[in-house]
């Protein structure tokens, strides 16, 4: 009888432990999902990349200045929208998550400033620089790395 009771305890403990583990993992998954980009941000990013390509391909075929300016600034509205959506998402996070996002943004801001300064100095020395259109993608990648680093710091 005691053996059966002991076995029941082991089974009960196992079920409770598994339930607690699953609940914790589900909470963590929900938190991760909240931190990740929203569908609206992803769609806006795709629109931005499309506008960037269209602008890049269309620009050489335009001669007059007004349409050239309009087409050159085509990627700007989606970028403004991405920034607005990102700020809204960050403000909805809790204080530690907000700090992590701000640390990542600070790393990106300082790195971008250093890259711009380096490019400007090298350009001044007569060296040709790669297109700045890839800068945004590099910033996104750096932001991801910096956020991961900040998250590990507080983990």
């Amino acid at each position: 009888m005691n053996g059966l009771r002991g076995y029941m305890h082991v089974v009960r403990d196992f079920i409770l432990r598994e339930y607690a583990r699953n609940t914790l993992e589900a909470t963590e998954r929900a938190e991760d999902a909240r931190r990740r980009m929203t569908p609206a941000e992803i769609i806006t990013l795709i629109v931005y990349l499309t506008a960037l390509i269209v602008s890049h391909l269309w620009l050489p075929h335009l001669q007059s200045s007004a349409p050239r300016v309009l087409v050159a600034l085509l990627p700007l509205p989606p970028i403004v929208l991405i920034v607005t959506l990102s700020v809204r998402r960050v403000l909805a996070l809790d204080e530690l998550q907000r700090r992590i996002e701000l640390v990542a943004l600070s790393v990106v801001a300082v790195s971008t400033w250093l890259c711009c300064l380096t490019c400007w100095l090298l350009q001044h020395a007569g060296m040709s620089m790669p297109s700045l259109s890839l800068g945004f993608l590099a910033m996104m990648a750096l932001y991801g790395v910096a956020r991961r680093w900040a998250q590990r710091h507080y983990a």
Binding site: A20, T27, L96, R99, Y154, A155
Partner: protein, 65 residues
């Protein structure tokens, strides 16, 4: 800054997720506070004090400078 959040949470029988839910923060925030990696803001410290029914200075203790 040291704190007694882990002990007080244990006394209540709450998990980190339970406390996070009560304080409307993430579980990572609770973990970072308990491990001393993150000092909460004053509003969150007051929320913790109110939840545990203790004064702030009995939960958060200044560490060695």
């Amino acid at each position: 800054m040291n704190n007694h959040v882990r002990e007080l949470r244990g006394e209540q029988g709450w998990s980190q997720a339970d406390l996070a839910e009560r304080l409307e923060v993430s579980r990572q925030t609770i973990n970072a506070i308990e491990t001393g990696k993150y000092d909460p803001s004053l509003p969150l410290a007051f929320k913790l004090a109110k939840l545990f029914g203790r004064p702030i200075e009995s939960i958060f203790v200044p560490g060695k400078e």
